[in-house]
């Protein structure tokens, strides 16, 4: 089982796969984000309680949700790296970390900008907000630990252990609104029964969630390509690749 996957552990094959996937992420990401954001900003109806401030939802919810998904994906990459000794898996892990950190940052900042007019405070030390802040520090920790080692194989292992341990935080973030008394509202769309949000508001939100996911995939792929070149710089295939690129550019 999973045999078909093994050739992609080879950095060269992984690099080719990245090149194949890039355009499929790039165009839909831009389309979804532009349409979703414009729809959300101008065409979705106002919230009867929050007025137009609720429009922050169109970036707050996607970035917050996907900051967690990206973390899980990063931890899975770390696990794969450890179990099957894939160097490329560690490269994927470290390619994802900065993207996830940016998403967490956006979630925190838009949360603050939404909290100020609605709750009267930019920040409160409540369970949801604090655990999301810890997520940001976990991302920073993984990046810092990885860059602290000269030997990148060791770095991948160390940062991978940290990424795996940090997974504990993910259910804490998700259930924080149920376990603790909190200012933050409960889930509206990730519930098993019907989502408690009007359909005219939901559509642009789904589009943006999809767009953010594609954006994360896009930047991760770009960064994975960079990481592969950085690590394989002296290998013949990279040398060939660059030579071909040069002749193509010259023509």
């Amino acid at each position: 089982m999973w045999k078909w996957l093994h050739p992609y552990a080879k950095p060269e094959r992984a690099y080719q796969l990245c090149n194949t996937l890039l355009p499929w992420f790039a165009l839909p990401a831009v389309v979804c984000l532009v349409v979703g954001t414009m729809w959300g900003l101008a065409y979705a109806p106002q919230d009867y309680q929050q007025g137009d401030s609720f429009r922050i939802i169109y970036i707050h919810v996607p970035s917050a949700m996907l900051s967690m998904s990206t973390y899980v994906a990063m931890a899975i990459a770390a696990l794969v790296g450890m179990v099957w000794q894939w160097r490329t898996a560690y490269m994927a892990m470290i390619a994802m970390a900065p993207v996830g950190a940016v998403m967490t940052f956006i979630a925190l900042l838009t949360g603050a900008a939404w909290g100020k007019p609605m709750w009267g405070a930019w920040w409160v030390w409540d369970a949801r907000l604090t655990s999301e802040l810890i997520l940001l520090f976990l991302y920073f920790g993984v990046i810092a630990l990885y860059s602290a080692f000269e030997d990148k194989q060791q770095a991948g292992k160390a940062a991978g252990v940290m990424a795996l341990v940090g997974v504990v935080n993910i259910p804490i973030i998700h259930y924080s609104v149920e376990w603790w008394n909190t200012l933050h509202q409960g889930s509206t769309i990730t519930k098993f029964d019907k989502p408690s949000i009007a359909t005219e508001m939901l559509w642009p939100l789904l589009l943006n969630i999809f767009g953010f996911a594609l954006f994360i995939a896009l930047v991760t792929t770009m960064r994975l390509k960079n990481e592969i070149i950085r690590r394989e710089m002296h290998r013949p295939w990279v040398q060939m690749l660059v030579k071909q690129k040069e002749t193509n550019d010259a023509v």
Binding site: Q46, D52, I59, L109, A113, I229, M233, V242
Partner: protein, 77 residues
């Protein structure tokens, strides 16, 4: 159907202009920055490989030259 009467109305965001545009602005800025940094990084890496290739080539040529100078007798006179 557009929810706002005019452009001014749209930019005002029902009095929440600062918070809404701060959120969307920072999100756009952060996403643009990480994309641009990744592109710049890619270009830098490719350039680094090219520079090293050229250096290797120069060293090879210099060594070849040095070998030629010592092995071949001087036929100029």
């Amino acid at each position: 159907m557009m929810q706002f009467e005019s452009w001014a109305d749209f930019w005002a965001m029902g009095g929440y202009a600062f918070y809404v545009w701060l959120s969307f602005g920072v999100a756009l800025g952060a996403m643009a920055l990480i994309t641009i940094f990744s592109v710049i990084e890619h270009k830098r890496l490719i350039k680094q490989v090219v520079t090293e290739q050229q250096r290797k080539l120069r060293i090879q040529r210099a060594q070849q030259q040095a070998r030629n100078d010592t092995t071949e007798p001087d036929r100029s006179n």
